[in-house]
């Protein structure tokens, strides 16, 4: 129903009215802030009672401190290349299962190129790798790939899903946010430069406060403001729309960094996780005065100052359609809202954090940061939040570390150690290898939160390098491969499919950074496609691109006839085949050998050679009979198109 302005007295019987509406909660909050510890105290409104987390809550696996043990001793030590392998093999051996041998070099090269770069190997790369005889050949290759600027583009795109990043506001007008793309550029640069992940987290929440001189830190704050926002608002909607926006910020923060559905606590205490509604509003409070704004700055790759869309405080408000109606953009206070209803305010919420992720000895005040002397533009509430979030010892840092190493595992192996990458709560899956997850999180923290060493650890492990062989015996024991006894085959994501098509047909434009394009015919990498919410790139959507409205940690991978139609009939798809055919300089059998090498990094097998020859003969005949003068060439284009439609092209072993 329509929501009236102002805060009506709450007279519902289930939530007794408070004598003096706002004071009691505020007093309790003050008491908590002063003492630094939580006291169970009855509140007049039960919705926002202070309820300290129980020992059982704290003992839930993802909230516990890291338990970092030594990699276990295993029987087949020869198989193991590093600690990762020992954790995996130990579990396999307990079940009497053997792990697979190493895949061949061609398979490994393709696997690693797609894993790290999202692109197929370049021509010549395979021969070079196969001729490399040093024992360090593989780890050298991994290092080379990690040093490639293509790595940042690949992994930036993964994070864009998590950040529900888009460049328009959604809703009725879906107005463009023309300077939002700098956030994507920040991601590319951050991954390439191996920005420590804890700083990566802090900058996205409060880069404008923590490193206001650093252009990357400013660009990073695009994270908070990337959500949707209505462009058309009636007066009655002003305040609830702002709470929706704050909800988007806090929900995305919770899911992206902590794997927790904090947003569920907006209207009531979380049903499954120890996240009281009270914690929710105190987290929301950190963003009270944060709004989208623009700052001119100059990154390394810029020649001059660029306007960057940031999320900050105290900046001039961006234009909004409802400005004429007096839309305030934000309010100076955040209130506890009974059932999330702006008419039912229950006192002001001051900044606070998730109690279950604060060690019992710690006081919230330890993360409170005041603005440095002379700094008045922002409140430093977000900086405080960022401090708690990345504090491994007393705050939420251990969970942040678990969540990100799991994301890395998920992308490299096709499934996380925790399968629900965005949900580390009770509703989520339990980790298949909790000891390995904690060990990896520990390695991350020990290495200064740098991700590249973790990538290296994963890719140089024997478990990553296994071949895909399966047998009935082991399938009976572990059909789902939860114990990782073989390498699962993976379908490429939308971007990697398109980028591979561009790359193989020699059309890929390697230009980095800067404004993107909505036009799929532009040949830059897919990470540079503009994400406009009402005009999501059609080919990307076909292959399970997210809608970029909410955080997505794992994409669906569907198989549909519409995908096949795109391979068969789309003008762009046909264009790839034509461009590939043009690239084949040689005549006859050599031509399709080259095509196979480019697309699949291998020669055609004998049975394939026969199929190809039969096909070309028949296809030429069909076209000649149809009166075409370029029958041979068209048949070759058709062959290239079929090659690009092969499962092997988009499924990586």
């Amino acid at each position: 129903m329509m929501r009236a302005e102002g805060c009506d007295q709450d007279t519902r019987s289930d939530e007794p009215a408070m004598g003096s509406r706002q004071q009691p909660v505020a007093m309790i909050v003050a008491a908590v802030m002063l003492s630094g510890t939580l006291v169970a105290q009855e509140l007049p409104g039960k919705a926002f009672a202070v309820s300290p987390p129980s020992a059982e809550d704290r003992a839930f696996w993802s909230f516990r401190p890291l338990e970092i043990g030594q990699p276990p001793v295993v029987g087949n030590a020869d198989w193991c290349r590093n600690g990762v392998d020992r954790f995996i093999l130990s579990r396999l051996e307990q079940r009497g299962l053997a792990a697979n041998d190493r895949a061949d070099r061609r398979t490994l090269l393709r696997r690693a190129c797609f894993s790290l770069l999202g692109l197929p190997p370049r021509p010549g790369e395979l021969v070079a790798f196969q001729n490399e005889h040093s024992p360090a050949a593989w780890s050298d290759l991994v290092d080379r790939l990690l040093a490639s600027p293509r790595y940042g583009e690949r992994w930036a795109r993964h994070w864009m899903d998590v950040a529900r990043f888009a460049e328009s506001g959604g809703f009725e007008h879906d107005d463009d946010r023309p300077n939002a793309y700098h956030y994507r550029d920040f991601l590319v640069a951050a991954f390439n430069g191996d920005l420590p992940f804890d700083r990566f987290v802090r900058w996205q929440l409060a880069g404008d406060e923590l490193a206001p001189e650093d252009p990357l830190a400013l660009m990073a704050t695009g994270f908070l403001g990337a959500g949707v926002f209505p462009s058309q608002l009636t007066e009655a909607e002003f305040e609830s729309a702002r709470y929706d926006e704050l909800d988007d910020m806090v929900t995305t923060t919770g899911v992206a960094f902590l794997g927790l559905s904090i947003g569920c606590a907006r209207c009531h205490d979380h049903k499954y996780d120890p996240i009281p509604s009270r914690d929710y509003y105190r987290l929301v409070s950190a963003f009270t005065t944060a709004i989208r704004g623009e700052i001119a700055t100059k990154a390394d790759w810029h020649h001059a100052d660029h306007k960057v869309l940031v999320t900050s405080e105290g900046l001039p408000k961006l234009k909004h359609h409802a400005d004429g109606r007096g839309f305030p953009h934000f309010y100076k206070q955040t209130f506890f809202l009974s059932r999330g209803d702006v008419r039912r305010k229950q006192g002001e919420a001051d900044v606070g954090f998730l109690q279950v992720l604060i060690s019992p000895q710690a006081a919230e005040s330890r993360w409170r940061r005041a603005a440095p002397p002379g700094w008045t533009r922002t409140s430093f509430r977000r900086a405080s939040l960022a401090g708690w979030l990345t504090d491994v010892e007393q705050g939420a840092g251990r969970l942040v570390a678990r969540v990100i190493v799991n994301r890395l595992w998920h992308h490299h192996f096709g499934r996380g150690l925790v399968e629900t990458t965005n949900d580390f709560g009770r509703q989520g899956e339990r980790p298949s290898h909790p000891d390995l997850l904690d060990w990896l999180a520990g390695e991350l923290i020990r290495g200064g939160w740098r991700l590249k060493p973790i990538h290296r650890l994963l890719l140089t492990s024997s478990v990553y390098c296994q071949d895909g062989r399966v047998d009935e015996k082991r399938q009976q024991d572990d059909l789902e491969n939860r114990l990782w006894w073989h390498r699962p085959r993976q379908r490429l994501e939308a971007e990697a499919i398109r980028d591979a098509l561009l790359s193989v047909s020699a059309q890929l434009d390697p230009t980095m950074f800067g404004k993107g394009s909505l036009d799929e015919a532009v040949t830059r990498r897919s990470v540079y496609l503009t994400v406009k919410r009402s005009r999501l790139a059609p080919t990307m959507m076909l292959f399970d691109w997210p809608e970029h409205l909410v955080s997505i940690g794992r994409r669906a991978k569907t198989t549909t006839a519409s995908q096949a139609l795109a391979f068969m009939n789309s003008v762009v798809g046909r264009g790839y085949a034509r461009a590939l055919e043009t690239r084949l300089a040689l005549e006859g059998e050599k031509a399709f050998e080259q095509a196979w090498q480019l697309a699949l990094a291998r020669e055609p097998r004998a049975d394939e050679r026969t199929m190809i020859a039969d096909f070309l003969r028949r296809q030429e005949q069909i076209y000649r009979r149809a009166g075409r003068t370029d029958a041979a060439r068209t048949a070759r284009v058709d062959l290239c198109q079929a090659l690009l439609g092969m499962n092997e092209f988009i499924y990586i072993d």
Binding site: Q427, N481, A556, T558, T559, S570, T634, M646
Partner: protein, 497 residues
């Protein structure tokens, strides 16, 4: 984003408590999971994709929770907010109070109820005459001469209310169950729940205004799959040019050449399929090319309304300049559901103001025009569905995103402003009780007064008719089991036959 329940690691058992706690798993999935587990097919690997083995054939038909009354839905979305008191909800009280201030009726009335605060006029009787129609004798506005003769097929709900007085949030509310962007819409939920009975057509089809008046507010988010896999989103038939992407083969190719090429592709792909992991996925992709090949002819065939006999075309009003465009879409809708498409949504009108039923200025002219565009086509659709025996299992829904105020919006010609407190929806066919009226608005048609029906209730009822328990159709996403009906929804049994 998983749809499955966690299984006991070793035994593959689902402890009851875990099951309840994690809930997850809509029926189809539990059922499917059970089935596949017994056949030893359900790999964790496949489940990780979010749909389990269904990711390979995500649109395969699924069983509901209980026997369905309706198998498919055609939703006439009366875009812009049709006025209840000028269409289906005759209010003698409004006639009596014509010209009085609404404060005489409701002292609490606020200027912010509508969209414009400075043009709130007095109570205004409908400019249209109402006459009793059908055996039920329901008074119907003169703007629906054809639809009026079908009132005995319609179950009216006069007490629907919504949560926003603004187009796009209200559109999202009506389509997705909450007034925000990002949730799956009804059509997506239904195709996720039931799959499709068509092998070579999209399961969920949307048609928008073909007269260049734009898309409904919020655009494609209205037929978005939200966090459900993209395969469940509505396929928007483009009003101009080729209606579906990539349906026409490259112009260099002949049919024979494409067939030969697909044969090659099939052989190349089959040579590689073995008992390796994901073999099912690979086989499914091979099959998808065959399906695509068939779609190239099936989709144009389904859309070829010119193949209908003249009298059928005339029944819908094809050839009548006023309504030809909508008549064509209604006929396409029938051809689609006839061929197994699960959910078809048609938008009457484009964007806001004079481009849709958004009659801020000149309610009389606006509603005369848009009723004129749709009256004959929708009546023709109902008649045609019935004569083919399709109506029994086809649910037809008629409603917009909100209603309109009983007061005039002042201006050169009086209009009416948005009203979230009350709207009329009707349903026909698919197991509904024709000729009944449920709920009532107050004396002037301002607010739902008797048996108020929330949008969640309306959705629950639609799902129920399709054999789906709205509380069981869930999708687990980021730690929460989402439903179309959020945490509410009561089935309105009174409108079910």
């Amino acid at each position: 984003m998983t749809l499955t329940t966690e299984s006991d690691r070793s035994a593959g058992l689902l402890p009851r408590r875990d099951l309840l706690c994690r809930a997850g798993a809509g029926f189809g999935v539990l059922g499917l999971a059970g089935l596949l587990q017994s056949e030893g097919l359900l790999g964790r690997e496949a489940r990780a994709a979010g749909l389990g083995r269904r990711a390979l054939t995500p649109l395969a038909a699924q069983q509901g929770h209980f026997p369905a009354r309706a198998r498919r839905v055609i939703w006439i979305f009366v875009n812009g907010g049709p006025s209840q008191v000028d269409t289906w909800d005759f209010k003698p009280g409004l006639v009596r109070r014509d010209g009085l201030s609404i404060k005489t009726f409701d002292p609490e009335f606020k200027n912010t109820t509508g969209f414009f605060r400075n043009s709130v006029g007095n109570l205004m009787a409908s400019p249209f005459d109402f006459a009793a129609r059908g055996e039920c004798g329901k008074p119907i506005s003169s703007i629906f001469p054809h639809l009026g003769s079908h009132v005995d097929k319609m179950a009216f709900v006069h007490s629907v209310y919504t949560e926003s007085n603004n187009h796009s949030p209200a559109l999202f509310m009506m389509n997705c169950g909450i007034p925000r962007m990002g949730l799956p819409c009804v059509g997506s939920w239904i195709t996720y729940g039931l799959g499709s009975s068509s092998q070579d057509l999209p399961a969920f089809v949307v048609m928008s205004d073909p007269k260049g008046r734009g898309l409904p507010k919020g655009h494609a988010a209205n037929w978005s799959a939200g966090f459900l896999p993209g395969v469940f989103q509505g396929t928007h038939l483009r009003p101009k040019g080729s209606p579906i992407n990539n349906l026409v083969r490259p112009k260099q190719m002949t049919d024979l050449a494409q067939r030969n090429q697909l044969n090659l592709l099939r052989r190349l792909n089959q040579a590689a399929v073995s008992d390796q992991p994901a073999a099912g996925e690979l086989a499914s992709r091979i099959e998808s090319f065959e399906l695509a090949y068939r779609m190239q002819s099936a989709a144009p065939e389904a859309l070829a309304i010119e193949r209908e006999p003249g009298h059928v075309q005339a029944l819908y009003g094809i050839g009548d300049k006023r309504c030809d465009h909508f008549a064509r879409q209604c006929l396409v809708a029938r051809r689609l559901v006839e061929r197994g498409v699960r959910f078809v949504q048609l938008y009457s009108g484009g964007n806001e103001n004079q481009r849709s039923w958004d009659g801020h200025a000149d309610i009389q002219g606006n509603h005369t025009q848009f009723a004129g565009e749709t009256d004959r086509p929708v009546a023709g659709l109902l008649a045609d569905l019935q004569q083919r025996g399709l109506l029994e299992e086809t649910l037809v829904v008629w409603c917009g995103e909100f209603g309109r105020l009983p007061v005039a919006q002042t201006g050169k010609k009086p209009g009416r402003d948005h009203n979230p407190h009350c709207l009329t929806a009707w349903m026909a066919g698919g197991g509904t009780r024709g000729g009944c009226s449920y709920g009532a608005s107050d004396d002037v048609g301002f607010k739902a007064a008797e048996n108020p029906v929330h949008i969640n209730d309306l959705h629950a009822t639609i799902l129920h008719l399709l054999g789906i328990d709205h509380e069981e159709l869930t999708y687990s996403y980021n730690g929460r089991d989402f439903r179309l009906t959020d945490i509410a929804g009561e089935v309105i049994h009174e409108v079910i036959a």
